[in-house]
Amino acid sequence: MGELTLIATPQSSYCARIQWTLKLKGVEYEFIEEDLLNKSPLLLESNPAYKKFPTILHEGKPLAESLIILEYIDQVWKHYPLLPHDPSDKAIARSSAKFADEKLIVEVWEAFKSEGEKKEKAIKAAVESLATVDKQIEGKKCFGGERIGYLDLVYGWLAHWLNVMEEVGGMKLLDKESFPSLHQ
């Protein structure tokens, strides 16, 4: 299936998504760790429009943006499909992923790093967004139903990083009573 390289920083949740995806699919790849402060010439050459992480190189061809990479991997390595098969379910999943990346992550970060009134507002916004996410997973084991799918990979960072961010940022966004489904 060709040589695959992942250029990323291990701390980033976007990079983690790709790593989890590749693990689920059982794909071998080479991992090149990048330093955010010292971007290597290889990265800049392969990702001129974005100069961001993660970037993958498949058979020498570069791709950026974690969601786009996720779908690409899903299309090339077809076993263990991640996205739903039905086009309208797929569209709903993509919408949800966009929401996660453009709204939820931004709100949580804002709640994390701001102070005072700004923080209060940000917390409120984040909690509201989390409520909509909670609804999506209601009654199910994972977003994908019985097994891990696209949205679980997209929202996976919640399980990992949210606790830490809450503690360090001094805020409580996710607790067992408010969001029982999500907590699991």
């Binding site: 791709l63 786009i68 086009p87 309208s88 797929k90 569209a91 993509r94 909509t132």
Partner: protein
Amino acid sequence: MADDQVVLLDVLPSSFGMRVRIALAEKWIQYEYKEENLLEKSPLLLQMNPVHKMVPVLIHNGKPICESLNILLYIDEVWPHRKFRPLLPSDPYQRSQVRLWADFIDKKLLEGVLGDKLYYGGEKLGLLDVAFIPFYCWFYSYETCGGFSVEAECPKSVEWVRRCKDVESVSKSLVDPLFVFDYVLQLRKRAGLE
């Protein structure tokens, strides 16, 4: 597919809505158009897009699809062979590239990608052309309100616009720039700028 029920919730001047209208026209898909009033959103819109409450929304057999690029992808997946060829290339790598650029366009306008090609899709209209061309209707408004000339800044784009307008599905779906300008003036008045 003969029993398909397709409804589009939209506002005429919306560039994002226009993308969808062009794609539907390209694929010869029959649909019902419902004009929304953004200041008084219909119960249908609120029900179909409760999170963002925005247009365009495509409703296919009762199921809502939101976000213009998402809708374009959906249309291409459900009706791939209408008019002989899909909007997106079939090779996964090329598809990803197209989607990357489409996302990028939504964040910034871009001149360089076109290069010497006839359309962003190569020889024929593709997803990027459909995504980008509706903004042409707003050029007049940008120019008049912003005080600059698109032709002077992006001559290649203007040529490309002319080629796109030659395609029937595009010329039928694009809104008159003066109509858009009127709409913009109304918005500005309401915002207290005029």
